[in-house]
Structure formats: structure tokens, C-alpha cells
Symmetry: C2
Subunit: 586 residues, 2 copies
């Protein structure tokens, strides 16, 4: 066994090429053992085993600095930089995050989780190096779909002008999360087909030197090329052709499904948990949209590299045909495209994760909302119950989206209301409409909901009481029910419950009416408090004697939190809220 | 005279090539007459005269749809589409905006003011056309620096995959606002030098067809090529080489200065107003940074295509040498670059307009703030007194920036405090710090300010009174002084005045202390209320009997407003605020 003796990159450098191949095999076994038991990014890391080894064999980390793009393919890098126990010992699996993390190791320079950032970050490291008169190598590792984001292009074009040492390893596995999209990938294919010799070369066009490695899973070939570019005085691309999922036949065969996964059975590839069998909003959304598409040829679903978020499996993509567009990981383009489609009479629906809609604030504001085009944006996983890596939080979409003029941001409370709102959003031609998909798991209420939301900012009073009113937004509506129930049970208070429905505005008439017989208004929202929904209510009541209590999460970058602890810490349990209300009433 | 008879593009089509050349001359005269009297984008429009004419000669607008990028080079397009009176009749100069505007004409499809969006928007128009089974031409006109933004790349790469009619006219005038930056521009040069024949071709690499027009100011040559690509079934780039400022010798000679200008003397090019002689924050910032750079070789100023925003004239850029970086119009890269520089021990200062920092929310959040790197970001023109075009508002930076965890966003009230804060921000190594440059014009207080801001969220109480406390943020501090003065004069109320200094947090201790002898807290901020600073104060006091009045502008896309009217409409005059306070006290 080699892997157990690797405490730092120094130990990699001591091995022969034959031994490195042995190491690669052991790493693959360890990855598969951990990922099948624990879940994580499977295909991207299996494909990067040899490249990560060769990088540490040739370069001198941490003096030489490696920046992994997205960094979901940094597992092998972690195993070689003092963190192999977190991959070998099941009891220690959770000691490392799924992304690079400077708090874990001096070999990591950034916490990274969104795509297309590595070249720009590496340019910064290189610029500081040059200003200080140092001479180390700076290496960005990009690929697996992340070349399609605009920031990567801005970085490459600026790197091309720097005229200094910067090595960009392009891991070309012919895939994004799903298949690649964008004209660029035709050029990568031409480069692969010509063994890197095609004259028309995207990277050279941007001013970078270029080398090609046909077999990016061949340690010896990689070492040879990395040695050639080490200490180069020029920005240089090393384009390596790898196989996503390499060494695990099921992952090689179904590269989309094994991009990322929950625990699975190694022999069959089947997920270990039954969770997949439950309803999920993505799947329901895909089904809903497909049905509508059949009736309306101008309805088009858009994804930016994550078709699964809205339930578009490969089969459904085929069914939808040209009514489904995957723009690759290019969120800015997705929003502008949607605006353009709406402007010319089409009905675009862009489904996106809360954490990734952060990438297109200016497009929401300028391309879409200033123009008032009726594009529809379901926002998935905008909830503290979703992804809990610091780079993938769903906390911030309310401040981001709801303070943009002209936008209508709706917060359904359950599945039935979600589809009522989505249906209206697609039918109407007046507003850009975003719909915050209610939470991570499907809640069925069995109730009927309005089918027309064109009269903006009309909250729905669902339980009329007095003294205390609970305004419970979207996925926190259930918490609102629990709070009002508990107020009645514990304190005999018959509280009012309100489903505000609209995140982007205040129902002044209803809020004014509450003044007659209410002393406290409580707001509940499933996201950060700062800049959010509740603060608007607090502002509205600022000149009155209404007391306002805002509940949500404090402004912080929580990381790999336990949901129960986060709720407790932010006083978001029904018991805590009721306690606060009773304290204020007395 | 031809121009006076052009009521629509139909009238262009009736002219011969000789007559079109006459028309071009008249248009140049009209542009120079208007722009020298009125101000506006000079060089970009002078360079586009022939191309705009040829486009309308060949294509059938509005059936064929033209999308101008940034749209500051759409003046000639406006003159040819029924709006020539706004260029010929001084009394009607203000009838059109400086950008395309669907409210003005059926020939405009989007309100556009930020760069790099045209290809994506055009892709949307094309996609809707294809879904509907229509067959018109879709044309994006991009260039003058706007190719460097990531959104343009995302658009081009997706266009390259569409396999349908989309014509991208690349107006290559060898310039951005200042000189071009980015490796891409080396490729444009290679294409120009080879008459478009260089094998390595950025556009072909992205999957687009490509044609080159050597003299993009030759109407006949343009007509010939546009006719060739009309109705093409393929995404096609027409790369035209034009001269920025063409036909006005002074603008041809100094293309940066004549990119945009206030009214100027046609004979000498000198600005008509003396405003240029007054101090401005850009100039002061440039001087301040240059002095610091001499002492600290790791200090580096970064701009994204607008060096003037931070006072970096061509001479100063030369002086700064490698301590000044212009990344081109690529705001995302600028933020990530700054984070990387800070991570490796450098001291980056990225100066940017409020309206353009909108383009990098995700980079602020992910690349910078999650990593907690000490980059410094002076935000210019974050004020309602700045640019008043709907696409260039400085209203939204507070909600955008201040709700990101880890960020410290400071609001100086005057020149002296600004430089005290900027100096600290550059020295410290703890936080990402943004500094909101206080307003559009320089305010000197002659006062001394703290030089250390490391104890976060400590507001400064500058006038101790009772009953009413005015928390006056940044550039609205003077308004706070006026309000407290007026309260004393008109109502005999000795109000407290507070300079909060920190936008990103609440001084709980001070706010609690106010409860003893204050009944009303008033907040004043120079930006939109929703998601802003005042709402945090309202939330903080929600559980108390303190009354809170928040002042700022309502959430809306104001356009070409008169500042006085906007203030009045939002009850932002000292008289209105005092009236509200007195009403609430009684």
C-alpha cells in the first residue's frame, strides 16, 4: 500500500512511475469505497486521479500554488496533501469538506464551490507573486464543464495578456454535469481530433500557449508535459483529455448519473436510500412543463448545466426537443436568453438553484427587469434545509432577487400553490416572475389556491385571530402553523396566520387592518434576515406602535451545519418563537 | 439634405450609394452639433455611422431585429428610425435617451446600458423566432470594448451551437473606453492584419461563421457583406474594422477623451463648463493611491475598463506601471483577481461604479467574502445624485453589497473621512472592505476622523440631543445636519445626530442607549430603501416602542429624473422629513 504512507506531496515525489500507477489504483479504490458509502462527486474525481498525482509529482506545493476550479474534483489533491485519513478511515470521512478549503490545509488557497473562477483567482496569485518578486508556479485546474462560464473567459483573456507564469490545466472529459454545451466544445473536439494541432485554437486565440495530452489518465505522459511547462515564463494551457468516471465501469457508462451521488451500491450502482422514490419538486416541475409544452410550442425550458434541477432527465430532454435548452454553466446567458425569448413572444422558464442565481444579478436587473419581460424563473433550494456547504447555501436569494424593481417574486407554501403560481407566471405577459420553490422536500396541502396573481402584493389571511399575527413566508408557512397552534395551546392566544405569497411587496391594506386588534406581527422566512422580507414589514410598521419580530437566519456563511442546530441558534423553533412572543406580550 | 427626409428605414433604402455617403456626412455634422452642445457618446457613434446606415439599407427593421450592445453607439440607428428630430432640433435633443429604448420606437427591442449583453439577448429573439416558425434576421451589434465581458462569451459560445440565423456585427475600433485589454484583442489584431484570414480565429473557435470587412466605414463594402449574410441559416460574425471618432480630427486623435463627454467647443475640443476644474473623488483617489504605491510595491489599483473612475489618466497609468491593471470590461475577473492578489499578500484596490458592481455579486460573495480576503473596493457614484439613466443608476449597491456576510461596507461622509477609511482599508489584513465614495461631488468638512476602523459597527454620535435621533448615512450626512438644524429652528427639538459609518452592521449598544430618552429614530440613506441600511435599524427596534422612520428612494427604475423631483417624491427634503417627525411626535 502506497496511499497510507502519503503524508504530503513529498511522499509522492519519492515514488517511481510504476509505483505512481499503483498509487492511482489504490486511490480509485479508496474513492469508490468512500463515495459509495458517503456520497459525493464520483466521476469528476475518478477522472482526475492521474493528473492530481502528476501535478504533485512535478510541482512543489504549497510553494507552487494549485487552484482547483469548482473544486469538486479536488478529492485526490486532498488525499495527497495530508488528508488521506478522511478517505481511508470511514470514521473520519467527514473531516474534510467536498471542496478546497484553506482551513484544512496550506495546500488549498481558496474555498471554492461555484464554477469558472480558478483562472481569475490564479491570475491574482500570479500578480501578487510578480509584485513581490517571487518566482513560484501558479496552476489553475479547470474543466468538467466549468469553461463555459463567463468568468473563465474573462480570466483566460486576461491571463493571455499577463505574459507571466500561469499554467492552466484544462481537464477535458467531454462532459459538464450533463453533456457539454456551447460552441467552444466543438473546438475542444477539433483539438482532440487533431492531437492538439488544429490551427483554430480557442486558447491560442486568447493569447495563451498551448500543449495537448492525448491520454490525461497516463501518469508518465502527464509528468513529461508538466515538467516541460514548469517554470514557464508564459501563460500556458495544458489541455488533457481524461475519462470521467475512469476505472468504475458503471460511471464510465453513465457519466451524468455518476457526476454526483448519494451513497450507492458498488456492484449495481443503485442508490442505497429509498429517497429517490419520493416525489421531488424537480421531477414534478419537469412533468408539469412537458405537459404544457405539448400544448404550447413557444414554451421553452432553460437550464444552465443542471437539467436535473427541473427534472429534465435525458429522456425528457429528448421529448422536449427544441423546447428544452441547456446553455451549459452560463447563468448570465440563461437569464438574457430568457429575456430575449420573452421579448419575442416566447414563454421561457429558467429553472435554477438559489445558490447559482447569485451569478446573474445584473442580468436579472438589466437584461430582464428593466425591460419588464415576462420570463419565469423557478428558484430551487432557496431554503436552509437544502445544500449546507458554505459555497452552496440557499440563504441569499430573497435579498438578491426581491429588491430588484419590476420583479415579482412569489413564495408558494406547498406543492399545490407552487403549481398554481407557476401556471399563472407562464400564462401572464406582464411581469418577470420568479417563484421560490417551497423547500427541499415536497409538502402537499391538498388545498386549492388562486390561479391568478396579477393583482400584486395581496397577502392571504388564512386564520383570523387577534393580538398576534404571524406572517409566514413560503416554506416557513408550516412553521407559522406550528407557532399559531402552540400559541393557542400554551397561551390561549388565538393568533392570526398570514400567507404573504408575494416576497416583493407589502400588503399595506392588510397590515394597516391588523393595527386595530393586534400588538405583535411576527415574520418568518427561510433565509437570511438582512435585506430580506421581514425587514420590509418592520420598516412598514416603523411609525406605528406595532411590535415586529423578524425570524430568519443571521447574516453569516454557515458551513456544513446541522439543520437543527442552525434553527436553534437563530431561535427558529416554534417553542423559541412562542417564548419570545409571550415575553414581549408581558 | 437627406437626413431631414429620413422618417424610417424605408427612406434609407431609396438612396443610392453616393447619396448614402452624403447622408453619412450629414449625420456626422448633426452628431457633432448635438454632442458638442449637449454631451453624450461621441467617438463610438462617429465610428458607427456607415455601419448603421448599411444595416438599415440591407435589413428590414423592425421585422429584422437589431440589438445594440451597451447601446451607447445607437444614435445613428435612432436617427434612421424616426427619431432624427431629436438630433437635428436643439429644442428636441432630450426627446431620446442615450440608449436603445422600446418605449421610443418599434425598432428598439431592449433598454440596454451595460455591456456584453447583445448576443445573449439576440439569441433569445432568435430562439423565439424559431419556436414560432418565423424567419426574420436577428442582428447583434457588439464591440467598442464590450467583447471582454463574460456574458458576451457565454452568448457567442451558445450562438455557435444554435445552428440558426444570427448575425453578430463586431465593431472593432481597436478601443474600449480606454485602450483594449485582454488576450482576445491580440486575436482581433491578427485577424485585421491578415485581412480576416488568420487560421486561429476566436469566433470560429466558438463555432460561428466569420467574415471580415477591412474598412468598416465604407458603406458600399458594408452593404455588400451584409447582403451576403442576410438570411444566412448559420450564426455568423461580421467583423468590421472602424475608426472611433471618425470624421472629427480631435476625437480620432484622442479616442479615450472623446469616448463620452460633456458639452465641448467644436473647434478646440475644450469642455464648455468649468466643472472639470473642481476637485473630484476620482482624481483625488488616483493621487492618493499613486502616493501609496511609491511606498508599497504590493499595492495595485485595478479597473474594469473605466480607469477614469479612480483618476488614472494615461500619465498616471504610466507612472503606476505594473501597479495598475486594467482588465477591460470584465468586472467578475476584477473581483476574483483582487481576491487572489490579497490571498497572496498583495494589496489590491478595485475602483468601480456602483452600477457596474452589480455585475459581480457572486464574485463578491464566493471569490472574495467567503474567503475573507482583504481586498479593497471603492464604490463610486453610489448616489441618487449620479448618473440618472435607468441603466446606470447608483441606487442598488447597498442592498447588493451590505447583505453579504464577512463584507465590511463603510460609508464616509466627506473627503477627509473617505481617505481615513480608505487608508485603513488598505492597511488592514482582516476583512474585504468596500468604501462608498460619498456622493457625486466632493464635500470637505475640514474635520479629523478615526484612522482605525477595525472595531466593527461602532457608530459615531456627533451631536447629542434627545427625543429624536437622526442616523445619517454617508453622503446623506449633510441632509442629517440640515434636518437636525431645522428641528431645532422650527420645533425647538434638540435632536441627536449619528454618523453610522458602517453599512454592514448595527451598533446595538448605541441603539439601545437611545431608548432612554429618544422616541423616534430617523434613518437617511442615499439609495433604495428595500434591502438597505434603514431596514436593519427598523428590524432592530421592532420589539421596542421606538418609532423608526426610514428615508431613501422607493424601489423603482427611475429614468432621467430631475434630482429635485426625485427627492420631493420620496419625501427626502429636510422640510418634508421635519414635517413627518413633527407629525409623529404629536
Amino acid at each position: 500500500m502506497y496511499i497510507e504512507k502519503i503524508d504530503s506531496p513529498k511522499d509522492v515525489k519519492r515514488l517511481s512511475v510504476g509505483q505512481l500507477n499503483g498509487l492511482a489504483g489504490e486511490i480509485r479504490q479508496a474513492l469508490l469505497a468512500k463515495l459509495s458509502a458517503h456520497g459525493g462527486h464520483i466521476g469528476p474525481n475518478l477522472g482526475m486521479v492521474e493528473a492530481a498525482i502528476a501535478l504533485h509529482y512535478v510541482f512543489d506545493s504549497p510553494k507552487d500554488k494549485m487552484v482547483y476550479d469548482v473544486s469538486h474534483q479536488s478529492y485526490v489533491h486532498k488525499m495527497l496533501t495530508g488528508r488521506n485519513a478522511a478517505f481511508l478511515d470511514p470514521a473520519r470521512y467527514d473531516e474534510v469538506s467536498g471542496y478546497t478549503n484553506p482551513l484544512e490545509s496550506e495546500h488549498d488557497f481558496f474555498t471554492v464551490g461555484h464554477t469558472s473562477t480558478s483562472v481569475s483567482l490564479a491570475c491574482g496569485l500570479a500578480k501578487a507573486r510578480d509584485l513581490k518578486g517571487d518566482a513560484e508556479n501558479i496552476i489553475a485546474v479547470i474543466g468538467d464543464g466549468s469553461l463555459s462560464g463567463g468568468e473563465a473567459y474573462e480570466g483566460l483573456s486576461n491571463a493571455g495578456e499577463m505574459g507571466t507564469n500561469l499554467i492552466v490545466v484544462v481537464n477535458d472529459n467531454e462532459m459538464s454535469i450533463a453533456e457539454n454545451h456551447g460552441g467552444l466544445y466543438q473546438n475542444l473536439k477539433a483539438l482532440r481530433d487533431s492531437d492538439g494541432k488544429a490551427e483554430c485554437n480557442f486558447f491560442r486565440a486568447l493569447g495563451l500557449d498551448y500543449l495537448y495530452v492525448r491520454d490525461g489518465n497516463d501518469v508518465a505522459a502527464l509528468i513529461e508535459v508538466f515538467n516541460r511547462v514548469k517554470n514557464t515564463p508564459r501563460p500556458t494551457v495544458v489541455h488533457i483529455h481524461t475519462l470521467k468516471g475512469r476505472g468504475y465501469a458503471l460511471a464510465e457508462a453513465d457519466r451524468e448519473r455518476f457526476h454526483w451521488g448519494m451513497p450507492f451500491d458498488l456492484a449495481t450502482g443503485a442508490p442505497k436510500s429509498e429517497a429517490g422514490a419520493a416525489e421531488d419538486y424537480g421531477d414534478l416541475t419537469g412533468r408539469f412543463l412537458l405537459e404544457r409544452m405539448a400544448k404550447d410550442p413557444t414554451l421553452v425550458a432553460i437550464t444552465s448545466g443542471t437539467p436535473a434541477v427541473m427534472g429534465f432527465t435525458p429522456e425528457r430532454r429528448k421529448q422536449a426537443g427544441r423546447q428544452f435548452v441547456d446553455v451549459g454553466i452560463a447563468e448570465e446567458h440563461a437569464v438574457a436568453l430568457a429575456s430575449g425569448i420573452a421579448a419575442n413572444g416566447g414563454r421561457p422558464v429558467y429553472g435554477v438553484y438559489s445558490t447559482f442565481i447569485q451569478r446573474c444579478y445584473d442580468q436579472l436587473s438589466q437584461d430582464l427587469c428593466i425591460n419588464g419581460n415576462p420570463a419565469v424563473i423557478p428558484v430551487f433550494m432557496g431554503t436552509i434545509a437544502g445544500m449546507n456547504d458554505v459555497t452552496h447555501l440557499g440563504f441569499f436569494d430573497i435579498p438578491l432577487i426581491s429588491n430588484i424593481p419590476n420583479m415579482v417574486y412569489l413564495a408558494p407554501t406547498c406543492k399545490e400553490e407552487y403549481f398554481a403560481m407557476l401556471g399563472w407566471a407562464i400564462r401572464q405577459r406582464e411581469y418577470p416572475v420568479a417563484v421560490r420553490v417551497p423547500g427541499a422536500t415536497v409538502v402537499e396541502s391538498g388545498r386549492n389556491f388562486d390561479t391568478d396573481y396579477s393583482e400584486l402584493n395581496r397577502y392571504r389571511l388564512t386564520r383570523r385571530g387577534d393580538t398576534v399575527a404571524v406572517v409566514a413566508l413560503g416554506s416557513f408557512y408550516a412553521l407559522g402553523e406550528a407557532v399559531t397552534d402552540k400559541l393557542r395551546a400554551d397561551a390561549g392566544i388565538d393568533a392570526t396566520l398570514i400567507n404573504p405569497r408575494y416576497i416583493t411587496g407589502v400588503d399595506e391594506q392588510m397590515l394597516d387592518a391588523l393595527k386595530a386588534d393586534h400588538r405583535i406581527v411576527v415574520t418568518l422566512e427561510d433565509g437570511v434576515l438582512d435585506g430580506g422580507f421581514g425587514e420590509k414589514i418592520a420598516r412598514y410598521y416603523g411609525d406605528s406602535d406595532m411590535r415586529v419580530l423578524n425570524y430568519g437566519v443571521r447574516k453569516e456563511f454557515a458551513d456544513r451545519y446541522a439543520i437543527g442546530e442552525l434553527l436553534e441558534k437563530n431561535r427558529l423553533t416554534d417553542a423559541q418563537i412562542v417564548e419570545d412572543i409571550r415575553f414581549l406580550l408581558h
